[in-house]
Amino acid sequence: MSKIKIVNLQKSFGDFTAVKNSNLTINDKEFFVLLGPSGCGKTTTLRMIAGLELPTSGEIYLGDEEVGMLRASERDIAFVFQLFALYPHMNVKNNLSFPLKMQGYSRSEIKTRVEEAAKLLRIDHILNSNISSLSGGDRQRVALGRALVRRPKAFLMDEPLGTLDAEFRELMCLELKKLHIDIGATTVYVTHDQLEAMSLADRIAVMDGGEILQADEPSVIYNKPATKFVASFIGSPGMNFISIDQGISNEQSTLNIEGTNFNIPKQYEISKGKKNSFGIRPENLSLTNEGGLKGSVFGVEYLGSRKIVTVKTNFGEIKVKTDISTSVKINENVQVKPSNDNIIIFDGETDKSLKSEFMN
């Protein structure tokens, strides 16, 4: 297993730049997730690490070796495709032994390795089945098996759970995590599903428009988003933003919105302009009768243990996560107030979060 490092990586298709000047270090034995909406460049980045696309410029290191311009077959990595790409004209056993045959292992060695992988993934009972007769979950396991028989330097996975139904996805998520703990392989995993990313990753890189916006542990990504995009993309629902027409000065700790003073964490950075926004997660807001932003209830969603109340205010719709016991009616006048000081101010010009007592 090896660490992976990409330096100033860039990929253009004609006029379109899919990946812009990206830098990343993925540690040995880390489960690293590239997360972003479709078209953000995450799959292109992964395919460049795999050698399925060649970078326009920049370097990729696998271990200590620079592999940016090597063929996929020379890189010693394994790739799990979204549609699995199991060879339909071979049975499970031949699919698993296909990568080993190329490397010239003896027949008995191949047999041992295939059986070992099959046992680990609990597919040893279907080794002689045809691919077309397998269920989605078993195909997924065979695809993983084909990746791990070779004991490659790194595993790359391109939305491998994307085609499974919701129930199965959760199960496979757990299995993947367990498998990763068992074999401790450096893994780069691409997904657009933030819940998947949160539950699997040691670290997440959030991408948008070909750029890596933030790469950090899931809790940091969630609690201390580096940009407005990260804040809105992560979380379900995403962070609420309230536009404020005032600059932020150093050491400022209150903010006046519509005549009400709100406490904010002590700010350590001065905003560039006067159009900024105030970001707060739905669970850090509560409904109140006075001392908050005025609005009316627009919609209520039940989530079983919690309730999401959407309040229409002068600053747009604000989502509040409340207790299930809270009872509100549609069109009822309510006020919304932060229940703690987990508040982030985003600079209107750069979309970046400003440093504060909370965002240190």
Binding site: A50, G51, L52, R71, A72, S73, I77, A78, F79, F81, L83, A85, Y87, P88, H89, F98, P99, M102, Q103, R146, R150
Partner: protein
């Protein structure tokens, strides 16, 4: 109203009508073929008798004549010979003739085999490689090239007979197996490229990407992963190419005489005493029919899947 079947299913009347049309059509197309097979088992006289004989005493004379050269001898000479050793010698003797040697048919037939299968293999192999390249790579002027390849099919091949004749004479390719294989391959290649490109487009590129990640080169991935999945298309393409090169007559007449003459120009020239030897010609065409028939029957499952392949998205 009968509501037990779906609207999409044809009614029993239209099913019966379709069956009747197919049966009538099949009978009409089978009449000349069965007449040909019947003729091959007649003797020279019953083959040309009028009114035509539908019921007749079968004879293998046509087949014997097809494979042998014979000469007529006087009764005294025939009497002086030792008794015939084989059934076909006896048959020939009874017509007051002796066998002077094998005919050229077997040689012409094997020429047809070599040229037919050779050019089919070459067309499919080259066609598959070209189709793969067109399907996967960014080929400059791809659409123009594909149209250019197709345009070779827009005139009957025989329209270029004269230039090809002159070219082949200068290159020394006239009357050679290689020359005929090249010629038929060139004619079939455009069809092969277009047919196979359709099939290659349907094979997701993830398969060869997976193989390349598994350590195989692109060419190895092509042979181990892409080709096996394109078998349906390859079978269908092979049948079309085989039928063309096996049946081709005009170029064969023009470009081959001795060495590489195929069966089609040879069979109609089988001459017996006092005109064409119809039973021998019948025998020749019947045997000529067999390889393509067997080839098509073996691959017919693929053919049916092949021509409807990709019509509906799975």
């Amino acid at each position: 109203m009968d509501t037990s079947r779906s609207y999409l299913e044809p009614s029993s009347f239209s099913k019966k009508l379709a069956a009747t049309i197919i049966i009538v059509y099949t009978v009409i197309t089978l009449i000349p073929i069965s007449w040909m097979v019947m003729t091959s088992f007649k003797n020279v006289n019953s083959a040309i008798s009028y009114p035509p004989e539908v019921l007749f005493e079968p004879s293998l004379e046509g087949y014997v004549n097809l494979f042998t050269n014979r000469s007529r001898q006087s009764q005294e000479y025939l009497d002086s010979l030792p008794a015939p050793e084989t059934w076909y010698e006896e048959l020939v003797r009874s017509r007051e003739m002796v066998i002077t040697g094998p005919s050229k048919f077997l040689g012409r037939y094997s020429n047809s085999m070599i040229i037919g299968f050779g050019s089919t293999f070459a067309s499919v192999f080259l066609g598959a490689l070209a189709a793969y390249a067109f399907s996967r790579f960014r080929v400059p002027l791809k659409d123009d090239l594909l149209f250019f390849i197709l345009s070779t099919r827009m005139f009957p091949p025989i329209a270029v007979a004269v230039p090809i004749f002159i070219m082949y004479r200068k290159l020394g390719l006239g009357d050679t197996h290689l020359g005929m294989i090249i010629l038929y391959t060139v004619v079939n290649l455009s069809l092969a490229v277009w047919l196979l490109k359709g099939f290659m487009d349907e094979i997701p590129k993830e398969y060869e990407e997976a193989a390349m990640i598994d350590g195989y080169s692109r060419l190895q991935a092509f042979f181990k992963v892409v080709l096996p999945q394109a078998m349906t298309g390859i079978a269908a393409t092979a049948i079309f190419c085989m039928i063309f090169s096996w049946n081709e007559y005009a170029f064969a007449v023009l470009l081959t005489q001795f060495n590489a003459q195929t069966a089609p120009p040879f069979i109609p020239t089988i001459i017996g005493e006092g005109g064409l030897d119809w039973p021998a010609i019948g025998a020749g065409t019947t045997l000529f029919l067999l390889p393509v028939m067997i080839f098509t029957i073996i691959l017919r499952k693929h053919l049916l899947r092949g021509i409807t392949f990709g019509a509906v998205r799975k």
